[in-house]
């Protein structure tokens, strides 16, 4: 094992690592549901970048990157979107239930 | 030519970065919303410069998708602002009364 060369892949890998930290901080400290979900998606972007670095370093056989991790990231982006959409719907329903319980007479 | 186009891309991105810092500082939501439009034109400019510079057709497609979805997102943001302003105006005018 030796230190990685400072190239584009390493640079984006480090960025991915930083983004995971930033996203995690947001998930832990934010109280609003939307903001937590946002932070979760920021974290996801960082994880995907780490996969991108694995793909870039696995370049070979005439490809600019290993296609398998890239395909995984594409699947991941789509599933992350679906999870976000489901979570948003849950949050909205929760807020609607809260409203119904709070303002029985007023609304 | 390849290097010249990459240099152009770096310069455009640097200029866009300065503008991005400015619009994100606000103060109004309209200012902040401009971040998406700024990246919609600036980010697309960077992508097409890199695409033609490296002769990568796929990057032109990526730029096309980026332009389309940035357009979609900036319109959605603007519509949201209009919607929120309408809701606020309605709440201001007369709570309880039916609006005309």
């Amino acid at each position: 094992m030796s230190l990685a060369p400072i190239d584009a892949a390493t640079l984006y890998g480090l960025t991915g690592a930083v983004l995971v930290g930033i996203g995690l901080y947001g998930i832990v400290l934010h109280e609003g549901f939307i903001r937590r979900l946002l932070a979760f998606n920021l974290l996801g972007g960082g994880v995907f970048l780490l996969f991108g670095v694995i793909a870039r370093r696995g370049a070979g056989a005439g490809f600019s990157g290993d296609p398998v991790p890239q395909a995984l990231v594409i699947t991941g982006v789509v599933v992350a979107f679906c999870a976000t959409a489901l979570a948003i719907t849950l949050i909205e329903r929760l807020a609607a239930e809260d409203d119904a319980n709070d303002g029985d007479g007023s609304s | 030519m390849v290097d010249t186009l990459t240099v152009s891309a770096v310069i455009v991105l640097a200029i866009v970065a300065v503008g991005l810092v400015r619009v994100l500082r606000g103060p109004s939501r309209i200012d902040r919303m401009m971040a998406v439009q700024l990246l919609g034109s600036g980010g697309v400019a960077v992508l097409v410069l890199l695409a033609v510079g490296s002769g990568t057709e796929a990057l032109v497609d990526a730029a096309l998708t980026l332009a389309l979805l940035a357009a979609f997102a900036s319109i959605a943001l603007a519509t949201t602002l209009v919607q929120k302003a309408d809701l606020a105006a309605k709440a201001d005018r007369a709570p309880g009364k039916p609006e005309s």
Binding site: - | S8, I15, V16, S41, V48, V60, A67, A78
Partner: protein, 97 residues
């Protein structure tokens, strides 16, 4: 012939960069949101247009050139529409006709 084309590209791309610069200067210097929006949507879209104009002779194929023009048209359309929506928002009478 090729020198003329290269020169044309270089001039157009440089002019595009200058317009991007002008847009950012506008963002930094203009006093309120609406004038800043004006600077952004006008100058940056023109900048992108000039850069794409400069790239057209270098693009190598007709389909790529067509896509480049389409990209510019999309950005232009979005800029104009968003500016309209926002301008409506800033007018004191709300959304007038």
């Amino acid at each position: 012939m090729t020198t003329i084309v290269t020169l044309f590209s270089a001039v157009a791309i440089c002019a595009g960069i200058i317009f991007f610069l002008a847009g950012t200067v506008g963002l930094l210097r203009f006093p309120d949101s609406l004038t800043r929006l004006h600077a952004l949507t006008k100058a940056d879209n023109l900048g992108l247009g000039l850069i794409i104009l400069g790239l057209l002779p270098l693009s190598g194929s007709f389909s790529t050139a067509l896509k480049l023009v389409l990209i510019w048209a999309l950005v232009q359309l979005a800029g104009a529409t968003a500016a309209q929506l926002i301008a409506r928002l800033a007018r004191p009478s709300g959304r007038g006709k």
